[in-house]
């Protein structure tokens, strides 16, 4: 999963979003130690200051914890992770709902489309 960044929105916000996704998806496991700011920045090809800012932001919402000079770890509180997951899922769902409704489809049609997409997705992941 590569870092996808565009220049149109503040980079640090995009980094916050992508790290949050990685935590929620489990790519960074709960309690796992994160790479150093420099390494993360190099991986994402961004400025270390920007990455630092993103991590500070993540810290303030509790997803990431600083351990003094030893770096940062992902929170091991499943509550926090689940809460974040819920927030994002709700926003994805709201976005989906508003877009599909904007196409002029009926509720049943929308559900049908969604079920089909879901079954395709699970087939792909097998």
């Amino acid at each position: 999963m590569a870092w996808e960044l565009n220049g149109e929105r503040p980079i640090y916000l995009q980094l916050v979003e992508q790290i949050r996704l990685r935590i929620i998806s489990g790519r960074y496991a709960p309690g796992e130690r994160l790479p150093s700011v420099r390494d993360l920045a190099a991986e994402a090809a961004v400025n270390p200051n920007t990455m630092q800012r993103a991590l500070v932001e993540l810290e303030s919402c509790g997803l990431v914890i600083t351990q003094g000079t030893m770096g940062r770890i992902v929170t091991d509180s499943n509550e926090i992770i689940n809460a974040e997951r819920k927030k994002i899922a709700e926003s994805y769902a709201a976005e989906f709902a508003s877009k599909m409704t904007g196409l002029g489809l009926s509720e049943q049609e929308i559900r049908d489309y969604m079920e089909e997409a879901l079954s395709n997705e699970s087939k792909q992941r097998l």
């Binding site: 220049g7 929105r9 503040p10 420099r38 961004v46 400025n47 270390p48």
Partner: protein, 271 residues
């Protein structure tokens, strides 16, 4: 105070980023200079003006304060004064009026030790071999890291015994970049480092800049090709006809304008 790996984060308060680039006579940014920034700026310009013969102001009345630990983009179209500015900081030009101070001193022997400059041309003597050039830099700069240079050279597959004149232009440019970035300087000035360079080389250049990042040093990158570079910039300075049009943190500008720095640049500088 956030104590994190390798960062002096006095400038980062939770959620707030103090601009390390102050431009303009009065600090009309909403953030005040905190007590921690009463240190001497790494680079300071006051009323800096450069006029060439013919009454054309290449730079006029520049006020600027720059601190360490930033990657700054000096952006502007050709002829906006970027190279003139860089030459003034390096001591290759004397200002017509005003002053430029590096760590509080005028350009001189001390500042040249602290500044590492990469011009936009081939400036090394052709007949030397790569290892001779490394020795040359080692001889004159006591903050030159020969080991780092050799490791970068071998990583690129360049033979240290080759003469510069037998290399392609792209390889020569990479050698120059390696030598510049192997110095442990306080201020790196890169003049159009990615102009006319293939994407792989450009990625190498950008990743070299990032991996060499050191919180005590600042990199000023001048370019007119912004989209490839903007994601690594902390701060940007827009230069037009010798004047600073805009200066500030890149992410703040993105948030304020709702577009990329590249988009803003095109907007501001459209003919």
């Amino acid at each position: 105070m956030n104590q994190n790996s390798g960062f002096d984060s006095h400038e980062i308060k939770a959620g707030e980023l103090e601009p390390a680039v102050h431009a303009g006579r009065s600090t009309d940014e909403s953030r005040e200079e905190s007590g921690s920034q009463s240190v001497v700026p790494l680079l300071e310009c006051r009323r800096l003006t450069m006029r060439y013969a013919g009454n054309r102001d290449a730079l006029s009345d520049i006020y600027l304060k720059i601190y360490g630990g930033r990657i700054i983009g000096l952006l502007g179209p050709n002829g906006s004064g970027k190279t003139t500015f860089i030459k003034l900081v390096c001591g290759l030009l004397r200002p017509t009026s005003g002053e430029v101070l590096i760590n509080g001193h005028e350009p001189g022997v001390k500042s040249k030790l602290a500044v590492s400059y990469l011009p936009d041309r081939i400036y090394l003597n052709d007949w030397m071999r790569v290892h001779q050039l490394v020795s040359f830099f080692e001889d004159f700069y006591d903050n030159f890291d020969a080991e780092k240079a050799y490791s970068m050279i071998s990583r690129l597959g360049i033979n240290a015994g080759d003469k510069l004149k037998n290399m392609s232009k792209g390889t020569k440019e990479k050698v120059q970049l390696i030598l510049t970035m192997s110095r442990n300087a306080s201020l790196y000035l890169l003049d159009e480092p990615i102009g006319g360079v293939d994407p792989a080389a450009r990625d190498f250049i950008l990743s070299t800049i990032l991996t060499n990042y050191n919180p005590g040093a600042t990199v000023i990158l001048s370019t007119h090709i912004i989209s490839d570079v903007e994601r690594i910039l902390d701060d940007v300075i827009f230069l037009s006809n010798g004047k600073i049009m805009l200066a500030g943190a890149a992410d703040d500008i993105r948030a304020k304008n709702g577009c990329s720095i590249d988009d803003l640049f095109r907007e501001v500088f459209k003919c």
